[in-house]
Every structure is written in C-alpha cells, then in structure tokens.
C-alpha cells in the first residue's frame, strides 16, 4: 500500500478550525519560528479514514484471529470497558486538577477507581499495597528493583547483584541492569526447574533480589518456589515476582503467600485490557509491608470521611516514576473487568486458561517435542527441534500458520529452548477454535516430514511474502523522505 505521504495533495484538508474569533496579534519574531513547512500529508478526511482502515485490515488481531502468543495472554478484551474509558468524566479529566486548592474534590471518581483497583490487586496477589503508576510490565520491573534498592539502602546495605534464571524474559535482566545492578544468570536444570545447586552457590548477602516468573516462562509451576524464597530471605535478599503469568494462578495461589516481596502485574495481560498493537499497558507494582514506605509518590489515600486524597509527603518514597497516577485509562478498563468477572469469574479464567493450555499440550505432544515433560499451567512450550532436522524451523511453522489465518505462538522464547514454540490459548477461546488450530499444527508436523519446502515457502496467501530483515538492519530506512 502507498504511504500516507505519497497520497499528499496540496490544498486538501481533513479538518477545519472555526473561523478566527480574536483580533490578529503581532506575529512571533522570525528567529523563534520554523523556516520550513513539514512534509506531513494533506488529505481529505475520507482519504485518511480509508488509508488507515485499509491498513488495519492487514493486521491479525484478537477480534479477527486466534492469537495464541505465549507470555502475552491475548485474551478477549470486553467491549464495554472501552465505552467506560471514553466517558467524558474520565477522558476529559486533567491530571493536575487535584493540584489545585481543594482540587482532590474535583477528581473523586477517578481517585476512587485508583484506590479500589489497588485494593483488588492487593487481595488478588496477597500483597500489602500497590502503586498504580508503572506504565507497563517492564516499567513495573524497574520500579520494583528501585524499591528493592531503596529498601536495602535504608537498611544500610549496598548490594550488587540481582539473580535471574536463564529462562527469564529479557526485560528482567535489563530492568535490573538499568537500576544499577549486576545480573547473575542461573541455568535451568534438566528437570525444567531453576538449578538449585547453582542458585545456592550464587546466593549470598551481596544479592539484592531474585527475579522470578511463576509459573515460569516454560509454563511450569516450580514446586520449590517457597524454598527458593526462604533461601533468598535468609541472606536478606528480596523476591521479585514478574506477574506476566498471573493469569494461571488467579484464586489458586498468590505471590504474597509464596514468599514474594515485590510483584508487578501486567493489566494488559491478566486483566483483559487490549494490547493496543504494542501498548499502552499498565504494570502496577505491589509490595509487602516492609516496602510500603518506599512506594512512589503520590499515594492515593482514603480519608475517614470516605473521600479520597493524594499524599505527597512521604520521606522514604523513591519519588516520581511517572508523571501522574499511571495509565489511568488502562487501569479503569482493568477495574471494570475485575468488577464484571468478580471472584468466581477470575477463578474460572485461571481454570479454563489452564485447561485450554493442557489440552493443546496433550493434543500436540506426539507431533512436537515438549520442551520439558511436565504438566503445564496456562501455556505450553514445545520445541520444533524434530522438524528442524528436516529444515523446518519454528519461524517456518509460524509463517505457515499465518497463511492459515492463525497468529503464531511466541517463537524462540524462552531462549533456553531450541526452536521454541510457546502456545498460550487463553480462557476465552473455544474448543472448536483450539481443535482447528491443533489440526493445522499437526498438518505442519506432517509436511515437515513429507514436504518441508511447502512449509518453508509460507506465507503464500498474505499481501507480502517473507521480508528481508537483514537488508532492513544493514541499510536502515526508518522514515519516508520527500
């Protein structure tokens, strides 16, 4: 498709301002003004609408395709939450209104949403308090690690290391490093669990935190989790919970009960808010009692008269990590989702997510190698190593699935699984959808034996074929030029 800039026609316009109603003022001195126009395209409203509507049709999305992208929890996003976020009382609210004198009273509805969401999340995870400010999962990780650093500093200890398993998501080591820590990587044993001997070897009182995902990125619940936490606590290290996989545990287990001290949640995964083509999400962070004082400012508090206020004067706080109170629009959708599902609906979500994943695992395990012979929770991880012997790699399987109208599973993650295919069906998908997907996966396994070339040619039915990614990186063309 042509670029929007290639459709430009001088003189067209897609929006009109009302006629000027104030007298013309003296123009700004030329030295402050731009000398050249931009090359933003000028088009009619219809041109713009048609351009982006047609572009949208080139995307797979949850509403149009099964999207079992592991680790991302691509569940259905209930429509009514979109309407709620668009209520003018929410969408038009300036974030600085509470800063005006008496202004807290101007935003009581939104403050209540923040306060109540915090309470829900605390109960769901077994933590003492939450900050709703982090703007995505990785932002939550960075906030969490900074909270851990503040905690240790307050105890007069300067620790140097953060431990992560080699199965961890890339954001975990990246967040630890950005917060100023050195990262120690613990290998995964043959049994699929973090190697406890190696872990013990590296654990000492220079370790600030251990960052884990649970169930881990292999979709496995590690039964030694409490032991791992206890050992960390014995040397004064804190346990960090990457909540990307919380969907598996709703009502079944809580990170707080498992011994975690700091938790982030991806509202855009577990709590049904849309992924927006890559964002916005929200990554609220929960902490145990010992860390509450360090939470970012402001905090939302409830006064004895049942009104809500913002508290800024907290001398142990790490400070500001976001401009305001978090991605409010996203938090609001997650709150509506939680109210709607309630206790039973959330438990049911976890149960059926785990059911769907186990069903996928069982139906496919004769055709693909399981990464580890274990029960899975909400996602199952296969290796296409068997298929790769015939030249059919995970990426080829992904492309064939695209031709068949399925968004591929996550491929090549976790990094420790060769040719990884990580499948997370989520609870909102029906048996029929999953059966049809399984059928295609089995078809691919067959083709990998009999006609590997056919798989490697895919996709043949999409608007484009495979793209030259090497060229893209070697000769970067990152913008259109006039």
């Amino acid at each position: 498709m042509q670029l929007i800039f290639e459709k430009h026609k001088q003189g067209r316009r897609g929006f009109c301002f009302p006629g000027p109603d104030v007298p013309l003022a003296k123009p700004l001195a030329a030295k402050y003004c731009r000398s050249k126009d931009t090359h933003i395209a000028s088009l009619s409203e219809l041109d713009v609408v048609r351009h982006y509507t047609n572009l949208s049709r080139l995307n797979f999305s949850v509403d149009t395709n099964f999207y079992p992208l592991g680790s991302c929890t691509m569940k259905y996003n209930p429509k009514f939450t979109e309407r709620i976020a668009a209520f003018e009382g929410f969408s038009n609210l300036h974030p600085l209104l509470p800063q005006l004198a008496g202004g807290g009273m101007l935003a009581q509805g939104s403050l209540e949403v923040l306060y109540e969401t915090e309470k829900f999340l605390s109960e769901i995870t077994g933590m003492s308090a939450f900050t709703m400010q982090p703007l995505a999962g990785a932002h939550g990780e960075l906030t969490g690690v900074m909270l851990i650093a503040a905690y240790h500093k307050n105890n007069g200890s300067r620790r140097k290391y953060v431990i992560v398993p080699d199965s961890s998501h890339g954001t975990n080591p990246a967040s630890a490093a950005i917060a100023g820590y050195q990262v120690i990587v613990i290998p995964t044993g043959k049994d699929g669990y973090m190697d406890l001997e190696q872990y013990k070897k590296h654990l000492n009182n220079d370790v600030a935190a251990v960052m884990l995902t649970c169930p881990d990125t292999l979709g496995i619940f590690n039964p030694h989790i409490k032991e791992i936490a206890d050992m960390a606590h014995q040397v004064g290290a804190l346990m960090y919970y990457d909540g990307a996989n919380l969907n598996a545990l709703l009502g079944k287990a809580r990170p707080g009960d498992l011994g975690f001290d700091v938790v982030h949640i991806n509202l855009h995964k577990t709590f049904g808010t849309p992924h927006g083509g890559g964002g916005p999400g929200a990554g609220p962070v929960g902490v145990s009692e010992a860390l509450v004082d360090f939470l970012p400012i402001p905090r939302v508090v409830r006064r004895s008269d049942a009104t809500y206020a913002l508290e800024y004067h907290r001398h142990k706080s790490i400070g500001y990590i976001a401009p305001f109170y978090g991605n409010f629009g996203v938090i609001l959708k997650a709150y509506a989702y939680m109210l709607c599902l309630g206790k039973d609906g959330l438990i049911e979500a976890a149960e059926l997510a785990v059911l769907n994943a186990n069903y996928c695992q069982v139906m496919l395990k004769d055709h693909y190698d399981l990464a580890f012979e274990k029960n899975c929770m909400h996602e199952c991880v296969f290796s296409a190593a068997r298929q790769a012997k015939n030249g059919v790699h995970a990426i080829d399987i992904a492309k064939y699935l695209i031709d068949k109208g399925y968004h591929p599973p996550t491929v090549y993650f976790p990094l420790i699984v060769k040719e990884a295919l990580m499948i997370e069906p989520t609870e909102t998908e029906s048996k029929e959808t999953i059966d049809a997907f399984i059928e295609v996966m089995i078809e691919i396994a067959g083709l990998a034996k009999d006609d590997p070339i056919r798989v490697k040619q895919a996709p043949l039915h999409m608007p484009i074929k495979r793209l030259d990614e090497t060229k893209a990186a070697r000769e970067p063309n990152l913008r259109w030029k006039p």
Partner: protein
Amino acid sequence: MSYTPHTQEDIKQMLQAIGVSNIEELFKDIPKGLRAKSFNLPHGKSEIEVTNHLKGLSEKNAANLISFVGAGFYDHFIPAALDAIVNRPEFYTAYTPYQPECSQGWLQSIYEYQTAICELTGLDVSNASLYDGGTAVYEAAMMAIRFTGRNKIIMDSGMSLIYRAMLYTYTSNLSVEFVEIPVVHGQSSREELFKHLDDKTAAVILQNPNFFGAVDDHSDVVERVHKYGALAISSVYPVSLGMLKSPGEMNFDIATGEGQSLGIPLSFGGPYLGFMAAKKELVRQMPGRIVGETVDSDGKRGFVLTLQTREQHIRREKATSNICSNEALCALRAVVFLSLLGRSGIKEMAERNYQKAEFAKEVLSKIKGVEVKRSSPTFNEFTVMLPRRADDVVYRMIDRGFACGFPLGRFYKGMDNYLLIAVTEKRTKEEICRLADSLEAVLCS
C-alpha cells in the same frame, strides 16, 4: 459475567483427552500449603451494573470545567475521525508486530508515525514510542551518557518539575551528576549554563516552550554544547512545532516530548505518548522498537521491526533500555491526528493557539492588579502575577466554572502569586472574556 465459551460438555471432553477427572487436578503442582490463603473479592456483576456504577463515578469528576490548565498537558480538540480509526479492533486488539506478514498495517502505521515525528522535530530518526514525555527525557539522558562516556547532565529548571523529579528517581542508584540552571526573566540563563558546561558534560537538556510558557531560540546554546563534545537534548511541545523553530533547526541531537497534545485525551494522566527523535548517528543508542522499510522475496515493499540487537529480548542486561510494551496506540493517534490536520492544518492549529493566548494576555492585562509577564515571547501559555495567592484564586474560580490555570507556587518556591494560563484552540473569545470577568470579580471580592 464471564467471557469464556466452554460448555460443560466441552470441559468434559477436554478433561478426558488430558486424562484427568477434574480441573483441580491440573493445579496439582501447586503444593497444598502454597494455595491462596484468601481471595476475598466481590461477586461478578453484569455489564449494565458495572457500566452504571462507573458512569456514576465519572460524574463525580469535575471534567466539565472550562479549562485554562496546561503545564505540559493540554485540552486540545480530537476529531471524531481519529477515534473511529483507533477504535478499529484490528488495531487495538493486536499486539506488537513481531510477525510482519500479518502486521503490515501496524508496521506501516508506525513507519508513518516515525516519519511524522522526524518531520515535526526536524531530526533524522524516530523510534516507535516511549511511555511518556518524562521517561523519554530520561532515556535521552541515558543515551547521551552512553554515547559520550560521561556522566554529567545539565538541565534547565524551566523543564517541567515532574520530569526533573523523574530523572532523579531513575538515576538515584547510578553515578550521574546533575546541575540545574536557574530561569532568569522566564528563560534559561546562558551565563549560568556556560559556567557549568565542561568536558565532563554528557548532555544539556532544555525545554521549549519552557514550563512558564516562554519560547526561546536555543541555537546559540547548542553550538556551545557541541564545542564541548556534549549532546543537546530538547524536550518540546509538539503542537508548538507547527509554528516554532524545530529542534533540528537549532541543531539539537535528540528531541523528546509528551505527545498527548496530538489527539490523545487527558484521561487523568495517561495513557500518553513519549516521542523521541535523534540524529542518525545516534540510532544504535536509541531505546525501544524501531520500524524499517525493506522488501519481500518478490521485491515488494514491506515493513519490519529492525535494529533489534539494541533491545532487551536479544541483548538482555546489555540492552539500551528495558522497554517492551510501549504506547503504540497513542502513536497511531498522533500520526492520524497530524494527517487529518495536514501540512497547513498543523500550522493553523499552532497559529490559533498563539493568537488566542495573545488575546487572553491582552484581556487579562486590563484587570487591575494582574500583571502579565512579558519578558519573553510565549506560545499558548503564559504567566501572570496576581495581587494575592494564586491557589486561592484558582479555588474561587472553580465555583464560577473555570479551571483558570496552574498555581506556580505548587512547584516553584516564591511563586505563590503566579498563575500559569494555557489557551488552546478549543477556547472561544467568549470564554476568554468570561474568564477575565470572573477573575476580576474574584480579585475584587
């Protein structure tokens, strides 16, 4: 309400296939002693009930005041066509376009967004978005620290206090030295800045227009900064770029900013849009996703995520940033907004903002006791000095239906009587005149 499609029969068949007799068995790896100690939540409600409840809460917010509050976050108009486009589920229920063949719509849109940001800022390359304007400034500072191998950051105290506070938080465990330059007569003090500039300086960060609304031409500062081998970073209000000299024209190395004003609702603080553009030699230091153009096996144009060896999923602890999810949908809003306005509409919008603010200055300066600060030119926001505490005046103006501005004493010591007033294209002449009348009445009472 639940959104799961399973019938009892489905569940039975699936359990049978798995070889277990009930769902609970699927959770047997969680030891009994580690089961949830509590899960005390209310029962689910219907869509009607939840909608009504939240409608009620939304009405407890005073979102209908006539707003002259800006301070970095502005009440601009959002065309209906924009909402129609971003509300297409093919956009908002997709995820990061990892698989280009089924994500060309998103990838091309981001490529167009990157182009639009480069055009606005006058720089070479843009990424696919960051969380907000504050994290964008922080990421830019870290880029400069890595690029120069130095660790001193000089920043203008005319940059939003919120962003400065965020920078301090993020670097509190790193060895970064900060120097803040005072604002003199509304603008960053050259004298102070040059005094601190040395060959240990990684970057100088300036905001335009600054927090007080003052417009500056930073070309002279940038030239000096480059003499010391440091980078110049601009934090900029994108709507103003329809009129103001761009960071590129002033030779800045990196431009960042809050993109909220480009078609994104205020929404009580987020989701917003951090944008970042830079000179091309800095591209490998950039954080976040970047989309590039390439060709498919038939030679046809297509788009992919590129230069990924900078990113956390490949480089892990050595990545340029930890960002994964970004603000893609807000970036889409920005490029659609700019495209609806078009080349001349962007200029016209900036012009309208400037004209209305100038008119407001005229009208307000006629009120006895109100002094409009005129030491520097402004864009759509300006500072006035009142004969008494601004927060008190703001409070009284609320009863009259106005959020009349931001009381600067909240952020700056000694500025209790100062009010920061923003006027966007949405404000009418009539509203501005009523603002003045009400302010006069409040000041007289």
